[in-house]
Symmetry: C2
C-alpha cells in the first residue's frame, strides 16, 4: 500500500530505460535535436543526469537506443496503408518513408547521424535492418532495373532507397524549399502518377 504515501517519487524508477527513450523522442519532437542533451532527457524524467549511465553507458548509448526505437516506428509508417499488391506496398512504403521524415524530422536525422549513434549496436542493427528489409522486399517485384545483371535485385533496392532517402533528406535540410511540402512520391516518380494518393493523418508543419 505504498500508493497511499503522498506523491513521493520512489528512489527506483522501475522502468527508467523505456522512460528515457520516450523522453528523448518527446524532446526531439517538441524542442528539436539541439535540445537533446543528456541532462535534458534526465530532467524530463525527473532523474539525475548520471542515472542513464547505468542503463546505456553513455549519451551515445542512449541516443542509439532512441534511434533504434525510431527505426521501429519508421518501419510501421512504411507498412501503413498497404494493401495486398506489390504496387500498393511500394507506394505505401515510399510515402511512409517520406511521411515519417516529415513527421519526426529530428528523430529521422538522429537515426542517420553516425556522429551520434553507434551503428554496431545489435539492437540498432536489428531495427534498421528490418526497416531496410521492407523496402528491399518490395523492390524485388519491380522492373526498375531492366538489365539482366546478376545483381539486378540489389541495384533496384539501392535505387529505390536512394531516391526516397535523398528526397526526404533534401526536404529536411531545406534544400528542396520552394518546391513546397511535396510529400506525395508521385510528384517525383512520374511512373506513379496514375496512382491514387494515400496520404494519412500526419502532415508537414
Amino acid at each position: 500500500m505504498q500508493d497511499q504515501t503522498t506523491p513521493k517519487r520512489p528512489y527506483h524508477h522501475g522502468s527508467l530505460k523505456e522512460a528515457l527513450v520516450a523522453a528523448g523522442i518527446d524532446i526531439l519532437d517538441t524542442r528539436g535535436l539541439e535540445a537533446l542533451s543528456l541532462r535534458a532527457i534526465a530532467a524530463h524524467v525527473g532523474v539525475s543526469h548520471t542515472a542513464p549511465k547505468n542503463h546505456f553507458g553513455s549519451l551515445k548509448g542512449l541516443l542509439t537506443a532512441i534511434a533504434a526505437e525510431g527505426f521501429r516506428r519508421h518501419t510501421e509508417f512504411m507498412k501503413f496503408g498497404a494493401e495486398d499488391s506489390p504496387k500498393s506496398r511500394q507506394i505505401a512504403a515510399m510515402q511512409g518513408y517520406i511521411r515519417f521524415a516529415a513527421t519526426h524530422p529530428h528523430l529521422f536525422r538522429l537515426m542517420f547521424s553516425p556522429a551520434l549513434c553507434a551503428y554496431d549496436d545489435p539492437e540498432l542493427k536489428a531495427a534498421a535492418g528490418e526497416s531496410y528489409a521492407v523496402l528491399a522486399g518490395i523492390a524485388k517485384g519491380l522492373d526498375w532495373d531492366k538489365s539482366s545483371a546478376p545483381d539486378a535485385g540489389r541495384r533496384a533496392e539501392l535505387l529505390m532507397w536512394s531516391v526516397v532517402h535523398g528526397y526526404a533528406m533534401l526536404h529536411l535540410s531545406g534544400s528542396a524549399q520552394g518546391t513546397g511540402p511535396v510529400l506525395n512520391i508521385a510528384d517525383i516518380i512520374p511512373d506513379f502518377g496514375y496512382l491514387p494518393q494515400t496520404h494519412s493523418p500526419a502532415t508537414v508543419t
Copy 2:
C-alpha cells in the same frame, strides 16, 4: 621591413576570415566533425577562441562560411571531367557529387546540417544555389520524366538530385555498407551502364 622582426606574430592576423575557414575544412578532413569546435578552429590558426566573433558573429556563422566554401568546391567536383555533351556532363556531375561526398565526408555532412548552418545566409544561399544549378541545368536535357506534366523539368531535377544525394548520404551513414564503395553511378542507374567510367584521383578510404 617588419619581416626582420623575429617570428613575432603580429597582433592583427591580416586574413583571419579565410584562415579560419581553411582551418575548419582542414580539421573536418583530418579529425572529423566531432572535433570541429570553435576553440579548435581558433587554436589551429593560433588565435584566441573569441577572435572569430568579429568576423562571423558566432560559431554558427563560421560553420556557415565553411559550408559555403564546401559548396563551391562541390560545384567544381561536379564540373570535373565533363566533355561537351549532355550525357557526359550528366555522368560527370553525378559521379562528381558522390566523389565529393566520399572525399570530404564530414564537410559534406556539415553542408547538409540545418542544426549547424544558417541556410538564410546570402553567401551560403548563393553557393548552394550554384551547385544545384549544375544538376538542374543538366536535368533539362534528360528524358527521365516522360510524362508531359507542366512541371516535368522540375520533376527531373528533383529526381536526379534525390538519387545522387540519397546515395551519397546512405554511404556516409554506413547504411549502404556491404555494397562496397560503389562510387560509379552506373552501378545504381542501369541506363548508364554502357558509359565509360570516369573515375578521378580521389577514392573512398
